[in-house]
């Protein structure tokens, strides 16, 4: 689907004209996206400014993450003890840490990302450190830049003041996302549970990289209770894994299948038997296999389980992507419209997972990713059936995550906002236009943006993220 404003925005002359005329049209910028498979150094040659509220317990992890990813840390020249860990790690990887004057950067200074460690926040007064860090630096952030704030879950706070301060970071980060979104930059909050620090590096790597281009204004919990994966692979993270993707013939499902295969997985592309031409083509192109099953059918779970058992002996990654919409206001909705939507979107994923678990087919360390929707979070006119199914998915993953944690299996949902697909092309033009512009990034996402997030959640390194509903919405206003 063409986005005229986005195309206009890529032309400097048009941008100048809009500015000259004083039109109230903020032109979105084309997002910087990654191509190809994961790289060992996704942040090569970047400069990442790092600050903290109080002493940084995560300093060593941040320093290591930044240097290993190919970037250099930029630290305040106030030369605290924290600075030394960044200098040392920079030397190990030939990425010397540089300093920025505490009074503020000089003219022309640019950074690719700002990372703020607020995990040691003790109360509302401590929040001032966030102002002090971001205020002088935010205008030095490059376009398509990244802001990551690290906090702790408010529920784990020892005192009330601390809980409030921790919660404050959420609104702070979301607002920063809105302020920097028009330049293609994103801001996200990571809540690191005490003891989950070992899970942090892959999450940071992902959020700082172009692969998270359409994830903004989100808060993501990195939790405990899951066995840590030591030294997860940085490249080809899904080598040797078997992945099942439902609805893989086209759109977002196809993009997911492509990315999973790109990281080394053998992808079983499941779609309706009626789609066997398109599905077969995808499977062949990816060196995967096509599994023609109508997941709404009663025998589907058993058929899928039998296929996985016979051909692969099990499965490592399950992506419940297949979904349908049958929009009608509730008063006018037919029984079929209700039943089909709930059947495909909610009942089928639950039944398939149940069959895989009962059959012992989902391997330890496995990954389940369900496609939810922003509509499920916000509710939508004419989508009582769809929103119900997607909200059901959100609740399902939270519950399942707890049940499977001991086996190292994570269960998450990804909730896309407006993604430019066949489905969104069918929306009324005004609604689509509103949905595009009412987001921090001022544009719709691409199927690949969703696929990158699903892929990340499918990797061994994402072991610390489970039970999450992660929105891929460009910081959409709806349901935020």
């Amino acid at each position: 689907m063409r986005d005229l404003l986005l195309e206009l925005g890529t032309r400097p002359a048009a941008r100048r004209l809009v500015a000259r005329l004083g039109l109230p049209v903020p032109l979105p910028v084309r997002l910087n996206r990654a191509r190809g498979p994961w790289e060992a150094q996704p942040l090569v040659d970047q400069f990442i400014a790092v600050g903290a509220a109080g002493p940084s317990r995560l300093g060593a992890i941040l320093a290591r993450t930044i240097a290993r990813a190919g970037a250099a840390a930029v630290i305040s020249d106030s030369a605290s003890e924290d600075a030394e860990v960044f200098r040392e790690m920079g030397r190990a990887y030939g990425r010397p840490a540089t300093t920025v004057p505490v009074a503020g950067p000089s003219h022309g200074f640019r950074v690719d990302a700002l990372v703020f460690d607020a995990t040691e926040l003790d109360g509302p007064t401590g929040l001032r450190a966030a102002y002090d860090f971001f205020h002088p630096l935010l205008s030095s952030l490059r376009s398509s830049g990244r802001v990551v704030v690290l906090g702790r879950p408010p529920a784990e706070a020892t005192v009330t003041e601390q809980a409030a301060a921790r919660g404050a970071l959420d609104g702070f980060t979301r607002s920063v996302a809105k302020e920097i979104g028009r330049r293609g930059s994103t801001a996200n909050l990571v809540q690191v549970a005490a003891g989950a620090e070992g899970h942090l590096e892959p999450v940071l790597r992902f959020l700082l990289s172009p692969r998270s281009a359409f994830v903004s204004a989100q808060s993501l919990m990195v939790g405990v209770g899951l066995p840590a994966v030591s030294d997860p692979p940085l490249v080809r993270p899904l080598g040797g894994k078997v992945a099942l993707v439902t609805g893989a013939a086209r759109g977002i499902g196809r993009a997911i299948a492509e990315r999973l295969a790109g990281e080394g997985a053998h992808v079983i592309c499941l779609d309706r038997p009626a789609d066997d031409t398109a599905g077969g083509q995808v499977a062949r192109a990816l060196d995967g296999s096509f599994l023609p099953v109508d997941i709404g059918g009663d025998g589907a779970p058993a058929a899928i389980a039998a296929h996985l058992r016979e051909r692969h002996g099990g499965v490592d990654v399950v992506v419940h992507n297949a979904g349908i919409t049958r929009d009608k206001t509730l008063a006018r909705m037919s029984e079929e419209q209700w039943d089909d939507t709930l059947g495909i979107n909610l009942r089928a994923p639950l039944r398939i997972d149940q069959a895989l678990l009962e059959g012992g087919l989902l391997r330890d360390g496995g990954r389940v990713v369900c496609l939810a929707s922003v509509a499920g979070i916000a509710g939508n006119h004419g989508q009582t059936n769809y929103a119900a199914s997607k909200a059901g998915i959100a609740a399902y993953v939270r519950r399942r995550a707890g049940e499977l944690a001991a086996r190292g299996i994570t269960v998450n949902a990804v909730a896309p906002g407006l993604i430019e697909t066949r489905m969104s092309a069918a929306m009324p033009a005004l609604v689509r236009e509103a949905a595009r512009r009412l987001s921090a990034l001022g544009q719709g996402g691409l199927p690949a943006d969703v696929a990158e997030v699903v892929t990340f959640l499918s990797t061994p390194g994402a072991a610390g993220v489970s039970g999450a509903v992660l929105r891929v919405c460009g910081g959409a206003l709806i349901g935020a």
Partner: protein, 445 residues
């Protein structure tokens, strides 16, 4: 890959000698000699200086980087060229700048395994005779004209495929990484910046390399390692041999002032620090090493200089620090031989660029590098400048790609033997993000 240190109860390989041609700047005195002729000169020189019976030779393991495409197994061609018995088998290995170290360690492995008792290893490269490639487009378009019957239509068709003609100009060979498209010098420039190595440090290092190489030549100690090469003229001069006796790149008279005047070669503007003065130049040359099993050496009554005790090859991401490999390979060799850097009397590193050697030294000194990249609790250590490249290195001598490793092995083997010192650690960086290291031990101890 990891290679075991010496076999626990087995045969051991020793270096008994080595000879090389003078190292000469490309497109100069040795231009008329291709890599096979250069290799032949080195191998002939070796057999003249170490008069073993030719029938005792079991194999030749040669190496090259710029290989002639129709005779890539130059080892065999060289052996036949100098009239070795055709029954002596020969192979050619290639591992960029570590090629002839690979030849030496392959030969050592053959000896340890009992495949051979006497092996000639070495390598040669003539940058002057690198094949200038025709663009593939021309080759493909011309193919119908060269093979089978051709019609006028074929000629026109071929011509039309060749437009625009500018793409047909032959391209000069460059030392470019295939995966990153970066020139080697740009990678060195990156490493200088990333490891915070100043221009002055690089120039000081280059100056020392020239001064030590010049001193080594002046002392006469290199004379036994370098065999003069005859270059026959062409046309009227044919038959008149001109002799090239000595290395031509070493500058005894260079100074920090002279080096400081050179412009950065790879980075535009004042930011660059890598110059022609602190980089190794394109060079023509060859070097040969004679290896034997310990038993054979004593049976023949030949003096063994040094044992090839351990070696290791590593790979790093070429997109990261292309030439940092020795910082990983050298500690491995230390671990495998159960030694600390402090036990090492001599360290000899290939000097592709001063910036690269200094980057590797900095990594070896770093505690965080040791922890993060080597899994060691403590830094590998500081290489004492008095033990490092005691007779200069590639910055001064030049760097015929596949001759450098054999030059280093020869010089270090002699140095161990003469000084009575115990151990020498060699380190070489190579294109493709490869690193190589080897440990030589005094054969008498």
């Amino acid at each position: 890959m990891r290679n075991g240190a010496r076999a626990p109860h087995g045969r051991r390989a020793v270096v008994v000698g080595g000879v090389r041609t003078p190292f000469v700047k490309a497109f100069a005195e040795l231009m008329k000699l291709d890599t096979i002729a250069l290799g032949a000169a080195a191998m002939r020189g070796l057999l003249e200086r170490y008069p073993i019976a030719r029938r005792d030779i079991d194999a030749v393991v040669w190496s090259g980087v710029i290989l002639p495409s129709i005779w890539p197994n130059i080892g065999r061609e060289i052996a036949l060229e100098i009239g070795l018995d055709p029954a002596i088998e020969a192979m050619t290995v290639t591992r960029a700048c570590a090629s002839s170290l690979q030849a030496v360690t392959t030969a050592a492995a053959m000896i340890e395994r009992g495949e051979a008792d006497v092996v000639i290893a070495g390598g040669s490269d003539s940058t002057s005779n690198a094949e200038v490639k025709l663009p593939q487009k021309l080759v493909h378009a011309a193919a119908p004209l060269m093979f089978g019957k051709r019609t006028p239509g074929d000629v026109l068709g071929a011509l039309s495929k060749l437009m625009p003609l500018g793409e047909l100009l032959p391209r000069a060979p460059k030392v470019v990484e295939r995966t990153t498209g970066k020139l080697m010098g740009e990678a060195a420039e990156d490493m200088a910046r990333r490891n915070e190595i100043s221009r002055a440090e690089q120039d000081r290092f280059a100056l020392r390399s020239h001064q030590r190489a010049a001193a080594a030549i002046a002392s006469g100690r290199l004379a036994r390692e370098v065999a003069p090469v005859a270059v026959r003229g062409s046309g009227e001069d044919e038959g008149e041999a001109r002799w090239v006796h000595t290395d031509t790149i070493v500058r005894a008279d260079t100074s920090l002032e002279k080096l400081a005047r050179l412009k950065p070669a790879f980075a535009r503007g004042a930011a660059g620090t890598v110059t022609a003065g602190n980089s190794s130049p394109l060079t023509d040359g060859a070097a040969a090493v004679l290896l034997m099993s310990e038993e054979k050496a004593s049976a023949l009554g030949v003096v063994a200089l040094a044992r090839v005790a351990a070696w290791s090859y590593v790979g790093v991401d070429p997109a990261d620090q292309l030439l940092i490999g020795p910082a990983l390979a050298m500690p491995r060799v230390l671990d495998e031989s159960g030694r600390d850097l402090g036990d090492i009397d001599l360290v000899d590193m290939h000097e592709a660029f001063a910036a690269q050697v200094l980057s590797v030294l900095r990594a070896l000194e770093s505690g965080s590098f040791a922890r993060e990249r080597l899994g060691r609790a403590r830094p590998v250590g500081i290489v004492d400048p008095a033990r490092l490249n005691v007779h200069g290195g590639s910055l001064a001598f030049g760097h015929p790609f596949a001759a450098t490793g054999a030059r280093m092995v020869t010089t270090m083997a002699h140095e161990l033997h003469e000084s009575g010192k115990e151990a020498a650690l060699l380190g070489i960086c190579a294109q493709g993000g490869l690193g190589a290291a080897a440990l030589l031990e005094n054969a008498a101890s």
